[in-house]
């Protein structure tokens, strides 16, 4: 006979309590990128909408940037770091796989002994982490979860590849997810399309270096098939974004803010057009001065929209992350 197991008991709902971001101090304009590729500022801007990005210095490690962003998110949430009982770090550019960087961040931020782990979901990493955090709070396995998206993509950029050299940036963005009496994070529409795994990828697997002569194999970079990714991002992801709106019972008219992964301004513009978003919806266009920061892009853009007054606390925002995998996740949230 199986004994009766007591169920976990969580909060009725979850919400984002606070947001924070960290952008490396070094700003890299297109002119610097052009030292290594045959292109032009006009070409880069017309294809990507990017004018500048931040690249991390040696001291601005994945952990340090995460601590800065996480600290701001905790302060914005108005809680003490010791209340954090879950830490999720989404990244593809932390080069030490074990231990998870989340444990170091949890310890150094003053969170005590929370559940802490890293996740790998490319540019959808933040949206995946947000979904996990919500589930933990509602399940009762945690009450205040710190979700961090952090990347040093400059380390994975082929600075001589004219199709990607200008694209990527570094930074960290974080939110604290906690209990709520009202639904403030909608159902997540998420999934993966592994048949398209070759369209965005790291060029070389780490174990190749074990057998290669030193210096023989170039350090890996992220490459992508531009047209295939663009088609998928604009047309397939617009459908996913619409499904997330429908799942949350929110119409485009009711939406205040749209925060897509900051992949490329052309993708953002086309998604807005395909989704037929009304003019009153504030659209995150942080990619112009931040570049594509993968897992960090959504919380960084969220923080900037709130800081500049383009969005305000209590606004209803649609967030969608999509990228290497291919993977995607979209949901509707109430802004902190």
């Amino acid at each position: 006979m199986s004994a009766k197991i007591r169920p976990s008991k969580g909060a009725p709902y979850a919400r984002i309590l606070g947001v924070g971001g960290y952008r490396p101090t070094r700003v890299v304009p297109n002119e610097v990128i052009l030292e290594h590729i045959d292109s032009s500022d006009e070409w880069i801007r017309s294809r990507s909408g990017i004018a500048s990005r931040h690249w991390a210095g040696p001291e601005e490690t994945v952990a340090e940037m995460s601590l800065a962003a996480g600290g701001k998110a905790i302060a914005d949430a108005g809680i003490d770091p010791s209340e954090i009982d879950g830490v999720i770090v989404a990244t593809v550019s932390h080069f030490k796989q074990t231990p998870a960087v989340a444990t170091e961040i949890a310890h150094r931020i003053g969170a005590g002994m929370p559940a802490a782990f890293d996740i790998s979901a490319g540019c959808a990493g933040f949206a995946y982490g947000l979904t996990l955090a919500k589930s933990m709070v509602v399940d009762g396995t945690a009450s205040k979860v710190l979700v961090i998206g952090v990347e040093r993509l400059s380390d994975l950029t082929d600075k001589e590849d004219r199709s990607t050299a200008f694209l990527f940036g570094d930074g960290a963005g974080a939110v604290v997810v906690g209990p709520s009496q009202e639904p403030a994070i909608g159902p997540t529409v998420w999934g993966s399309e592994g048949d398209k795994s070759e369209t965005i990828k790291q060029t070389v697997a780490w174990d190749v270096y074990r057998d290669a002569d030193p210096g023989q194999v170039r350090f890996p970079a992220i490459t992508q098939e531009g047209q295939a990714v663009f088609r998928w991002a604009v047309f397939e992801m617009a459908k996913v974004a619409q499904e997330a709106l429908d799942a949350a019972g929110i119409t485009a008219e009711e939406l205040d803010v749209f925060i897509p992964h900051q992949a490329n301004m052309r993708i953002i513009d086309s998604m807005v057009k395909t989704l037929k978003l009304p003019d009153h919806v504030a659209v995150a266009r942080d990619v112009e001065t931040t570049g594509n920061t993968s897992a960090a892009s959504i919380p960084l853009a969220m923080e900037r929209l709130l800081a500049t007054g383009q969005a305000k606390s209590g606004d209803t925002a649609l967030v969608i992350g999509f990228g290497a995998g291919l993977v995607y996740a979209a949901t509707v949230v109430t802004l902190p």
Binding site: R47, E225, Q227, F230, R231, V234, S270
Partner: protein, 82 residues
Amino acid sequence: MATKEEIVSGLADIVNEIAGIPAEDVQLDKSFTDDLDVDSLSMVEVVVAAEEQFGVKIPDDDVKNLKTVGDAVDYILNAQVA
């Protein structure tokens, strides 16, 4: 099924809508990139719009072979038959 003339005219309207090129400039011998200022990303938008309008599939691998308006028109004509 659309005739060749209908496809040219439909493509001209699509290119006009997406790239702002006057429809009358969209001629069979014109190159999308060199003559019509349709870059690789706009080309994807043109292709998706053409797929919807003419009920055909144009896979990513084939898009790069569509250099001129004539290439695209021929592709769509053949795809309709297939």
